[in-house]
């Protein structure tokens, strides 16, 4: 009987786990939808600002805009790591940390690290110095949070504390596949633009408009990177929670089978005991 009691307890705890993983999956699914909707809303802004910037630059170079100018010597590089807000999402965070470590191994220049996301404070801060941590970025990032990050990075770049700013994040390839990759945010890379025209009127002047467009493009790029990283995080969590829920189902099925066996064995023993007892009594009478 002790065996069946233990089995029952294990089944109950497996059921608890199944419920938790199922609801975590549901929560991730709803956050994923919200992140995707935000990405769709941001898309026109990101596209238009980059297109206009390319168009204006195609005329006559960066016009002295510091955000666009490639510095001849890039001595200091700042890495911005976009980790998730928490774990339980498969290899999402650990793959990114591994990617960072490989990257830093090859890095000859002086480098600093900015981390976005509240996961892995112990993992990341134990070994290396983190310049600044943005751990209040929500599961569904908002424009204001992205603006804060982008303002900080712009200031870091303009003050000369970094000559290059590189984002390390999980690119969202599909629901099932995210790939760690690097993206150079600053100096800002303008797209190539074929058709241009020289007869633009500028109000007040070209340089300040290039600056304004560069900031708009920068802000929307930072925002879209944050959203893309979160999109991947929620997808990864959904996938791992789905497989966890499936595994608990399997475990519950196995345990139920074992419980049934144990119960059946107990019943069989009981019956044979009764039968044996009855036989003994009958044998006594004849």
């Amino acid at each position: 009987m002790a065996n069946t009691r233990a089995l029952k307890a294990r089944i109950a705890s497996a059921e608890g786990i199944r419920q938790i993983t199922k609801s975590m999956k549901m929560v991730s699914a709803s956050k994923l939808r919200r992140v995707q909707a935000a990405r769709e809303r941001l898309d026109p802004m990101a596209r238009e600002s980059r297109r206009l910037l390319a168009k204006v630059l195609a005329g006559a170079g960066p016009a002295g805009e510091p955000l666009l100018e490639d510095r001849p010597e890039k001595k200091k590089v700042c890495y911005v790591l976009l980790v998730g807000n928490r774990g339980l999402c498969g290899v999402y965070n650990t793959a990114l940390v591994k990617f960072l470590e490989e990257r830093l191994k090859q890095e000859q220049r002086a480098h600093s690290l900015v981390v976005c996301g509240s996961w892995g404070q112990d993992v990341l801060e134990g070994e290396r110095e983190v310049l600044r941590r943005f751990d209040r970025i929500g599961d569904v990032p908002e424009a204001g949070e992205a603006g804060e990050l982008s303002a900080y990075l712009t200031q870091l770049y303009l003050s000369g504390e970094a000559d290059e700013i590189v984002f390390l994040y999980q690119r969202f390839d599909s629901f099932l596949k995210q790939t760690p990759c690097a993206f150079t945010l600053l100096p800002l890379q303008a797209e190539e633009c074929a058709g241009t025209r020289a007869d633009y009127l500028f109000e007040p002047d070209r340089a300040s408009l290039v600056g304004a467009l560069a900031r708009l493009a920068l802000d929307s790029t930072v925002f879209s990177l944050l959203l893309e990283a979160r999109n991947g995080e929620h997808a990864a969590r959904m996938a791992s929670m789905t497989s966890a829920a499936d595994n608990t189902e399997e475990l519950i099925a196995k345990l139920t089978l074992a419980l049934n066996h144990a119960r059946q064995a107990a019943i069989t023993t009981e019956i044979s005991e009764i039968a044996g007892g009855a036989e003994a009594l009958n044998g006594g009478r004849t």
């Binding site: 941001l42 238009e48 600002s49 009127l201 109000e203 408009l209």
Partner: protein, 90 residues
């Protein structure tokens, strides 16, 4: 109609407005700027304020508050990229 301008107001929260208008008035740091169809290609700073526009046969007017940003005018297409804009259903 030939004298229509396509006006779109875009912020990070999405496209706030997209419609055909006959006249747009944009707030700039140097005062408000009126744009009719056939305007020269222009790139101009936008100040926080109210964009006014006229549309339809009746020349109705409407307005939409926007944040600072940049306006781009080319080929009767006016695009405002702004930090925020109040969303309006067409």
């Amino acid at each position: 109609m030939a004298d229509k301008i396509k006006l779109s107001i875009v912020s990070q929260e999405g496209t706030a407005l997209e419609r055909d208008v006959s006249y747009v008035n944009i707030p700039t740091p140097f005062g408000s700027l009126g744009i009719l169809s056939g305007h020269a290609a222009l790139l101009c700073a936008v100040e926080e304020g109210t964009v006014r526009f006229r549309f339809g046969e009746e020349e109705e007017t409407d307005r939409i508050p926007v944040g600072a940003g940049v306006a781009h005018v080319e080929d009767n297409q006016v695009t405002l990229l702004v930090s925020w804009a109040e969303k309006k259903e067409p």
